[in-house]
Symmetry: C2
């Protein structure tokens, strides 16, 4: 009753009514209240029974919603004590595009993040690649060349190429993060391999960048690999039309 959700009373039924699973909607409602600091860090959530009454759902639904908030680090629960908003809500996991589609601005931002990580990954790959790593990278490159020649979809090989480079860093976290970002881009990467994309020569342009990147890694040149990766990411962004990304300020053309 005296808990910090007074405004929800009239809206509770409306808020949880139409689409999808009830627990999803409850998760969204509670997360919104936490992110807006209406439920501040350290505050106690209403009891499960109270939440169930307020949102007109059963305790099972409430528990499922809270379980997910717990998994994402928004709340912590202690048997007997209740559920508390975490000190730093939402920092237990990193996600992108929570549910909805990504607009162009978000895509450009994620591309910047991707550029940062993949550039570093290329550098590390050039330093640490083993013979097996090189074989995997070359195999993916070959599959893409094949796809271009025969005119079928090379998106999977494209993915594999970037993953193989990430694997060559021998850094499990970097590898997983590159995979993670690549996964969320897999849809955005489709247009390059459509009929339109081929006519525009997008796969061929990407392939030239891939070959340059591969060559730098093969000969163990970290700086060149990093430059090639950066150029490739910038080229990809341009081809996808997500705007200029991480444009370095001009350096008077002096760098190497």
């Amino acid at each position: 009753m005296g808990l910090p959700m007074q405004t929800a009373d009239a809206l509770a039924i409306r808020e949880v009514d139409r689409p999808g699973r009830l627990s999803d909607q409850l998760v969204a409602a509670l997360r919104a209240r936490i992110e807006s600091a209406e439920l501040a860090p350290g505050a106690r959530l209403p009891t499960e029974q109270a939440l169930g009454e307020r949102f007109a759902v059963s305790r099972a639904v409430v528990r499922e919603a809270i379980a997910r908030l717990k998994a994402d680090g928004y709340v912590e629960t202690r048997q007997g004590a209740g559920a508390l908003v975490a000190a730093r809500p939402g920092l237990a996991s990193f996600r992108i595009g929570a549910g909805g589609r990504l607009d162009a601005g978000a895509l450009a931002q994620i591309f910047e993040l991707r550029a940062a990580v993949e550039t570093a990954a290329a550098r590390l790959a050039a330093e640490r690649r083993t013979r097996g790593d090189l074989a995997a990278i070359r195999a993916a490159l070959g599959r893409m060349a094949n796809a271009i020649d025969e005119g079928h979809d090379g998106a999977a090989a494209d993915d594999a190429f970037h993953r193989a480079i990430a694997t060559a860093t021998h850094n499990g976290y970097m590898q997983r993060f590159v995979e993670f970002l690549g996964y969320h881009f897999s849809e955005s990467r489709r247009p390059s391999w459509t009929e339109d994309g081929r006519r525009a020569g997008r796969p061929q342009a990407a392939q030239r960048e891939h070959e340059r990147l591969c060559a730098a890694i093969v000969r163990g040149d970290p700086a060149a690999a990093a430059r090639a990766a950066e150029d490739h990411l910038r080229g990809s962004a341009t081809r996808l039309g997500v705007g200029p990304v991480a444009r370095r300020t001009s350096k008077g053309g002096g760098e190497r």
Copy 2:
């Protein structure tokens, strides 16, 4: 019965018995089976009832476990159809240190990832910082100087400094990722501010690097900011004893 978990029968009760919440253990057990490809992508999980019987828990526990696996993108469920292992399990969210503590090797790897992102963040911050951003960065720097002078804990200010730089990129995803990584490092950062750490001059050394980074951002020099960030991250790693990180191969001293 005929489902792909034959080996679990004898272990079920043992596997879920001692510590913590039952659903946590069930999550771990199922995730292990998915990650080991014992439950391959596209495969159907046993029904909730079957899982409950096998692991000797109620359906409520099974549902909570599956809800979390769903949230992390390991499985997908459809009412009436069952639960299927996702095509690319675990790629819906990025997490580090799943439950347990991080050993030195993992810490070094995460440091490499952090270096990659924060270096890029510093570069972008130098390009895009507003007056407000600079004020926030300087304020955090001042709080750290204060902490050093008066001998109390400056870990929070240290965090705030890195967060302020991330904010100055005006890239929400990069900001959130820097926060995410910083959060998981907050414990590892403690030793710098202990009595031992102060005697070893660690906060002072870090502060010199901070000042250099701040200066580069203030005067809008992206290349210098990136170098300063890289040096700082390398310095931090050395001070924390997590080993050499992202050591660039020598370039004959030629780069700029």
